[in-house]
């Protein structure tokens, strides 16, 4: 995760105050506009299980870090 964070511009999408499916909407919109030199960092309260298959469909990579209960970070990027 740190390699990507250090080498790309990070667009943070904080979804902790959003109810389903707004987190998915916000993140999918963000990744749609994401450049090759950028990555999206999603901050959420729970694992957005239905998002991951969508990201796989779009050919995007993702990595999860569970910082503590109710704070999960998901880094999403496009492999060059």
């Amino acid at each position: 995760m740190s390699d990507i964070i250090n080498s790309r511009k990070i667009i943070t999408v904080d979804c902790r105050e959003l109810e389903p499916p707004e987190p998915m909407i916000k993140v999918l919109e963000a990744v749609h506009h994401m450049g090759d030199d950028e990555a999206v960092m999603m901050v959420h309260r729970k694992r957005p299980r239905l998002l991951f298959p969508r990201l796989d469909e779009l050919g995007l990579k993702h990595e999860i870090r569970e910082e503590r209960e109710n704070r999960i970070k998901i880094l999403i990027w496009r492999e060059n």
Binding site: E17, E19, P20, P21, M24, I25, L28, E29, V31, H32, H33, M34, R45, K46, R47, R49, L50, F52, P53, R54, D56, E57, L58, G59, L60, H62, E63, I64, E69, N70, R78
Partner: protein, 431 residues
Amino acid sequence: MYAGVSLDQAPPEDIPVRFFLSAPAYGIIAGLLIAIRGEDLFLSIWGSETIALTHLFTLGWLAMIMMGAFYQMVPVLVGGTVPFIRASRVVHSLFSLGVVLIVSGMYLAKEPFIIAGAAALAPSLLFFIVQISIALLKVKADRPTVVAMRISVTSFLITILLGIYFAGTHAFLWEMSDNRMGLTGTHMVTGLFGWVGGLIMGVGFHVIPMFYMTPEFPKKKASLILRLYGTSLLLLPLALLTNLGSLFYLGAAIPGLAALTLFGVETFALMGKRRRKIKDTTLKAWQRGLIILPPALIALIVTLFVDTEIPRFLFGHLFIVGFGLTVTTGMLYKILPFLVWFHRFSFLIGKVKVPLMKDICSDKKADRQLLLFLTSVVILFFGIASNFDIIIRAGGLVFFLSSAMLLLILVKMIRMKAPEVPQEKAQGMSL
């Protein structure tokens, strides 16, 4: 990398949808039955027509929605994989056929129908149990939701096995036990409290914080609730099967009653702390259902000491219809719009304007339907309590109308089509 849900593991849209759409259809039949037969259906809980009506609600509505919910929620809420998911379509078909046959058999007192119904229900339900058990056993039981789901499914299995036993007596495969009351009581406890109550609590632990931005359901309280609940689920059937008497039944039930009370109080408290202040239909349904729960439990306690039919019917009505149907109706208004949105619109984000959830299901219409349904609950309550035929029939009619309205709302949702994507955007679809 995350080893989570793949689109192959999450159920195809039509699987939970067919279960959800079926439930109000059985509600329509139940409402018509009550409107036509009135007080005749509320003379004795042992009457075959009354048992038929009960199973319209418990199998046709509650089990139908809960099975659809399990198929949808096990991958999404707890990350389990439901095996043989495509066979769930056959489960639904057999289950639906089984409900129609067995309810008809009970209503008409025709044993061949009961036997045929059981022959359809047994394999469909047992297969469902196998599917969900495999999925739940593969996830760690480190969350209250998983534990509650396991309690629910285990209770459903016992309920089903007892149902098969009762059906077998109709087929003259074996004789009815002398302990019919104990077995029937156990069937009721495992079915209503274990299966229905267990799943409602398990789902509530997770979805209330998720949907309404409340603090998490305290894990220690959830664990305490489940330990108390599980204690009663073990003790109460034992007490019933050994015929220990009302005081022992009450003693065995107390931990479970405390658990339900604690769940209701804590859930209400969490709802009060929600960061999203708007009250949607689902929240209203949860709140109304939880408000009806205490009178249902009081009616249950009364039945232990008062040997008349009215408290038994009031308990059945308040717990099954007032609590169970209210909460499951509310959940339909959350799950189905999300299913439609996810399967038809989510992949279009960024390409075309995508509807929001409120565009898929209007809260105004849902609110009206919920109000109509709750009106029927109240009318039926007074009808049953007063044993006044015309009020019971009126309640049945309103229930019929609310079920029909629900079905229309759900059908309208699933008929929404995804918009056309303009050519140039379609070419850029895969990023």
